[in-house]
């Protein structure tokens, strides 16, 4: 299992964040931290505010109150590109790739923020541009190797199966060499085999590349199997945070999912526990 590293301070501090749209409180006093090498999962029913938390993290929304600190730098008020440069990478719930570009080109785009040469040098394929490009290709090939994308290198992404596209999107985020990786429903719509593959990649990212991650996911089995800690949110409010085992035992969690329907309660309890042992 995971190596939770408690020695150094947290990579990310998300402290008492409030975000409202008019009368709707999307995020209501949520706090958590993510440590080095930690895989932190956020779960909750539809509309619980999970995606809003991601959008606050990546700078799409500016919260009314609270602080978000990545490696000691306050992110509130920073634009998304600036936050990306600080090392925050993300994947999307619906795949956001360039369908007509090849796998390699999509991954190279992930290197964009690391490019230092100008347009003219790039056009001449000379000097610094050439050296840098070769260096970036090596980095991209490491990702191809890591995610086992060899056979699709030169295929346009749009022609690939869904599960592979999700992998390419993960690869593009990794190409940014992120400090913190946000995964928005990484296994949504995948079959069992694709889900198992993705789970293995996620664990390898934590253990081999040692990149901390925040994952939003509905697949309870996956969350309970791979996450180091889990936070449950409901109506924008945090319900509980703890290890998967603690969360499974927490009665508030089950209530949040069901609103007190005893029959359904049994089903969900079964689903959560079944998932953990799968």
């Amino acid at each position: 299992m995971g190596l939770v590293n408690a020695q150094s301070g947290p990579v990310l501090q998300f402290d008492d964040v409030h975000l409202s749209f008019g009368a709707v409180k999307a995020v209501n006093g949520v706090s958590f931290t993510v440590g080095e090498n930690e895989l932190f999962a956020v779960i909750g029913p539809n509309g619980a505010g999970k995606t809003s938390i991601f959008n606050v993290l990546s700078g799409v929304y500016r919260p009314q109150r609270g602080t978000v600190v990545l490696d000691g730098v306050d992110l509130i008020g920073k634009r998304p590109p600036a936050i990306a440069r600080l090392g925050m990478a993300r994947t999307f719930q619906n795949i956001e790739l360039f369908a007509n570009l090849t796998v390699l080109d999509n991954l190279m785009l992930g290197r964009h923020q690391h490019l230092r040469y100008g347009t003219l040098a790039a056009m001449a394929w000379w000097g610094r541009a050439r050296n840098e490009e070769l260096r970036h290709r090596v980095k991209v090939e490491e990702i191809v190797d890591f995610l086992e994308l060899e056979q699709w290198r030169k295929m346009p992404v749009g022609l690939l199966p869904y599960g592979v596209q999700k992998r390419v999107e993960l690869g593009r985020a990794l190409a940014m060499e992120p400090r913190l990786l946000l995964l928005d429903e990484p296994v949504a719509g995948m079959n069992l085999e694709e889900t198992e593959d993705m789970a293995r990649y996620i664990l390898d990212i934590r253990d081999e590349l040692q990149i901390p991650m925040i994952m939003v996911e509905h697949d309870m089995g996956l969350v309970m199997d791979v996450a180091d800690r889990v936070m449950v949110v409901d109506f924008g409010t945090p319900v509980a945070t703890g290890t998967p085992t603690e969360i499974q035992r927490n009665p508030d969690v089950i209530r949040a999912y069901l609103g007190g329907d005893p029959d359904a309660e049994q089903d969900v309890r079964h689903a959560i526990e079944g998932g953990a042992s799968a």
């Binding site: 060899e150 056979q151 390898d204």
Partner: protein, 611 residues
């Protein structure tokens, strides 16, 4: 002093240290390994094995995709007079466990986490002391004391080498022709696998036969030739082609990145010598046809025109033993400029000067297609128990539908009663590992190997294989039918991947048929047929009709008792891990009969008494 594959490598490293022995693709770039690098690695690994307590006669196992480390370990093992045991990377845990335990391996190379897990879950293996892994990914938290990384193995080897210089070389010089250099487990279609012992002498006889006594290509294979290593190295054919030819002829080995990337790697490498099993040739043929189906109108017609020329060329070449006539040479020359060169380049076969097919029966029309586009194609025959040499079609004397002529230095005869093929020569194996009874059943006292294949002579020179002895179907009417011929006729269609003919003790023949997902999928898309899964597509009426058409065509070529009366679609793709195929992708008939029992019975039930 005995010449072995090890001394051949040592001598090459001495004579041409900087020449390329092999290439592998790392991070998208091909890296070269010279003969000097190869020999250094062999010495380091050989010393490491000595340091780990491996002694002459001990077994060293390897379960790994094709990569240089496989060869380093194999040759190092043979260098210290121990025995290599190859496992298929696709062997599930139960088979891995059986093979490790049966061979009594003391060192096992498990490529990565997946293979390490299989070894660790294999239960009690008292003789297994060390598990070496190449890919550390995912293994950080493992604390089994037997685990050792490849880098640490090399480190151990260098230490031992400093302390005991010359220890490996001394063992290389002490080698005897009777040294067992490998156990090749035959993944039998029935019963547990048996470990065929091949000796240093067997390997030398193979190399002398195919490279010196009767070279299979002219000029003989040499350091300018390129091969692509992609079939499992634990199989005798790929071991001969990759490891032994490389040692014996100096051919450059290029390792495919993975089995999925073979088409791309083939295009990049453009090998000059290429061997494939029928399944791969069928797949290449299907690829060529399907690419054209989805091309524009003009391209399709242009290609269609040249493919018809190719069919005609193939037929003429086949009738002429594979030799060109003036007419075919002219047609081909024009076709080369306008079409064939591009097609062969796309398939990765542009530079192939000798192509071969073996290890399973193949439909002649598949081979004829490749002859037609200018790929010199030769069917061969051999089996694990005779180190894969027995017969081959010789350049210019090709006879389609046969496995060619007997190699020089090899005795081959047909059993007078059963027609079984028997061979006797110095490459006949030394017996099955720890199974003297099976050995006695297979090799007679006067040295004849019972191949289990039934054959007949064509024109007194070429051998034709009828079928595996145990696969011959005897219908209720008492007719003997060779199912493989019918099956291969069906599989020659780009739409059919798997065909299993049934009929032993039955009134008539039936078949279970599995479609080729890629080609039938593309065919369905062109017709705007929506489908979800393999099974859904298989069971569409339109697909059934498509298959019926192929069945009718094949039936038309056979007499009534050999015709397939009914067929059913297989509801899933057959798979090694599900126990339906052997590791070499051969159908396990008994397993199929059991698994799809109801499906089979349904083809006989409703017709009971009717026919």
């Amino acid at each position: 002093m005995t010449r072995t594959i090890v001394t051949r490598i040592r001598d090459r490293a001495g004579e041409m240290p900087k020449a390329v022995a092999m290439r592998e693709k790392r991070l998208g770039v091909w890296h070269e390994i010279t003969w000097a690098d190869y020999w250094e690695a062999v010495l380091d690994v050989g010393h490491a094995l000595l340091a780990l307590g491996v002694r002459p006669g001990d077994r060293v196992a390897v379960q790994c995709e094709n990569r240089p480390e496989w060869l380093f370990l194999d040759i190092a093992t043979v260098a210290i007079r121990a025995t290599t045991v190859g496992l298929y990377p696709t062997n599930p845990t139960a088979e891995t466990s059986y093979l490790l335990s049966h061979s009594g391996a003391c060192v096992h190379l498990a490529e990565d986490q997946e293979q390490v897990d299989k070894a660790l879950e294999s239960g009690d293996l008292p003789e297994l002391r060390t598990i070496v892994y190449v890919e550390p990914r995912g293994l950080r938290a493992y604390d089994d004391p037997r685990l050792l990384s490849w880098d640490n193995l090399l480190e151990r080897g260098r230490e031992h080498r400093r302390a005991n210089p010359g220890a490996v070389e001394a063992l290389v010089d002490a080698a005897e022709p009777s040294d067992v250099l490998t156990l090749v487990y035959t993944s039998g279609t029935t019963g547990p696998p048996k470990g065929a012992m091949l000796t240093a002498g067997n390997a030398e006889f193979v190399l002398e036969t195919v490279l010196e006594r009767s070279p299979f290509a002219r000029p003989a294979p040499g350091p300018k030739d390129m091969t692509l290593s992609y079939l499992p190295l634990c199989h005798v054919a790929e071991r001969v082609l990759t490891t032994w030819y490389n040692a014996g002829a100096g051919t450059q080995v290029n390792f495919a990145e993975s089995i999925e990337t073979v088409p791309q790697n083939l295009r990049e490498v453009q090998p000059t010598l290429f061997f494939a099993v029928p399944r791969i040739w069928e797949k290449l043929l299907a690829t060529a046809r399907i690419k054209l189906d989805s091309a524009t109108w003009a391209k399709r017609h242009w290609a269609g025109f040249w493919l018809r020329r190719a069919d005609a060329l193939g037929a003429k070449l086949a009738a002429n033993g594979g030799r060109h006539t003036l007419g075919t040479r002219l047609t081909y020359a024009v076709g080369w400029v306008l079409f064939f060169r591009a097609l062969r380049d796309r398939l990765g076969l542009r530079r192939v000067r000798h192509a071969s097919c073996g290890a399973a029966p193949v439909a002649p029309e598949v081979l004829q297609f490749f002859m037609g586009i200018g790929v010199p194609m030769h069917e061969l025959y051999g089996m694990t128990e005779n180190a894969a040499v027995a017969t081959a079609n010789r350049p210019g004397r090709v006879r389609l539908g046969t496995v060619g002529e007997v190699h020089e230095g090899i005795e081959l005869k047909l059993d007078e009663g059963t027609g079984e093929i028997l061979t006797r020569h110095p490459a006949v194996f030394a017996g099955y590992w720890q199974d003297p009874e099976a050995t006695a059943r297979t090799v007679s006292e006067d040295g004849w190997l019972h191949t289990g294949d039934v054959g007949e002579w064509v024109d007194g020179t070429h051998l034709r294989i009828t079928d595996r002895m145990k696969d011959i179907i005897i219908t209720a009417g008492g007719k003997n039918v060779a199912p493989s011929e019918i099956e291969n006729g069906l599989k020659a269609s780009p739409y059919i991947k798997e065909a299993v003919v049934i009929g032993d003790g039955r009134k008539y023949l039936t078949a279970l048929i599995g479609i080729e997902l890629d080609t039938v999928g593309a065919w369905a898309q062109q017709r705007q047929l929506a489908f979800t899964t393999y099974r859904d597509l298989s069971e569409k009426d339109e697909v059934r009709a498509l298959v019926q058409q192929v069945v009718d065509e094949v039936n038309a070529r056979h007499n009534p008792v050999e015709q397939v009366k009914h067929f059913r679609m297989l509801p899933k793709e057959l798979d090694h891990e599900d126990g339906e195929l052997t590791a070499t992708q051969k159908v396990k008939r008994s397993a199929i009969d059991a698994m799809f029992h109801d499906l089979v019975e349904s083809m006989y039930a409703d017709q009971a008494g009717a026919r």
